[in-house]
Symmetry: C2
Subunit: 241 residues, 2 copies
């Protein structure tokens, strides 16, 4: 499994993904699930992926092909699409068609080919937008009321987001919130694993403001995880009931 | 959906269930999901249920039938079974056979008839034991390593249990832990709802030491929920990153 989360805030967009993939329980590997596309100052797109690795890899390959060879028109270039809505549509259509192709090959076995993606970005002159693309290619969008989107093992890490994230959350607090949300997921579910990929796209920058890989041995992540455990235990002890 | 949780601690067993049932999203009702069977000082059994309401209700009806008419031997009496393991087997067999019956009627529609149960209890002279009975009738047991069992919407409320519950947790702390675990679930999932049913069976008492229905307007539950929110937000603010 996977856990990926994206926050759409007034100050910018904050994205985090894990890197663990598994085919069954005993075939575990590390694969990047965050993909960035950037023409600094003009356009910046971040895609997070969950689900069947063969489907997400092929989809990304086709999207890259579309960027490199926009003239073929097989897959339109997400770097030339007029709006972020068009980008979401290109990703959704590509994902759905790749899934259909692979499904046809997989019919005999019962392996799931479902995959979903978070697509976040901004083009110059447009607004920041963030979409969750479903396996069928349709999508929903993050809004002020629900300023975050999750894919994969989303339940363990949802309570902390529900409590602390609003559109006014600062980018620093947002980083803390997604890392703690991931920390809860890592603790409760073996199929989500370090290292993590983290990215920030500040409002109207149309470029990656910060990109970071957080390794398992990262001291500050460990310290944060420990401080959060302590804060929870202290809070727990102090509550009267 | 449902959320039920049981803790098996050195000091006793602590159980909590919600009461919301839904057929689709617009047909919501309140049904008890905690059922107690007691011969004080001799035997005490608590059953928590999740899943298809028609399956769990029919299973409970047959178990009660078995207690009232042990001579018929259709369903052996869980109040006369020699061990808690036998009780778990009776519950598992009854659940599986009821499910098969109802499945046969439901084949045309695609409605799920899956249901699971937590069965906790102690008979005089035996140990406290707690089982999770799967829809197929097989079961697993809580142990020192994993002193809690959950059924229904278990993911939202798992992180807090993972952090604070050990076999040495006191019964008061255990009450706090399961209520906070439920609180996280209530906040993140509409299909789990108040009121709650809470029960404690102290070690070797072989009786219900405490039974309580917690209503939506319960002041101390609300205060606890608020205090926990505040503790999380304070803890969150204090963490350096």
């Amino acid at each position: 499994m996977t856990y990926c989360v994206g926050l759409l805030l007034k100050a910018g967009m904050v994205l985090l993904s894990d890197t663990r993939t598994n085919a069954g329980l005993d075939n575990i590997a590390t694969y990047r699930k965050m993909f960035t596309f950037e023409e600094p100052g003009e356009r910046c797109i971040v895609i997070l992926t969950a689900g069947s690795l063969s489907v997400t890899q092929t989809t990304l390959a086709q999207l890259r092909e579309g960027i490199e060879h926009p003239e073929t028109e097989e897959t339109p270039s997400i770097m030339q699409a007029h709006t972020m809505l068009d980008v979401a549509e290109i990703v959704g259509n590509t994902l759905a068609s790749v899934r259909q192709d692979i499904d046809a090959k997989m019919q005999a076995s019962k392996v799931s080919t479902a995959a979903s993606m978070i697509v976040a970005g901004q083009r110059r002159g447009g607004a920041m937008r963030m979409f969750l693309v479903y396996p069928e290619g349709n999508f929903i969008e993050a809004t002020e009321d629900t300023p975050y989107l999750q894919i994969g093992e989303h339940k363990y890490g949802k309570p902390i987001l529900d409590r602390v994230v609003t559109p006014d959350t600062s980018l620093d607090d947002a980083r803390k919130a997604v890392l703690l949300s991931m920390d809860s997921t890592l603790r409760s579910n073996l199929s989500v694993g370090m290292p993590l990929d983290f990215a920030v796209v500040e409002k109207d920058a149309c470029r990656l403001s910060r990109v970071e890989r957080i390794e398992a041995e990262n001291e500050s992540f460990r310290a944060m995880s420990q401080a959060w455990s302590n804060a929870l235990r202290d809070g727990f002890q102090k509550i009267e009931i």
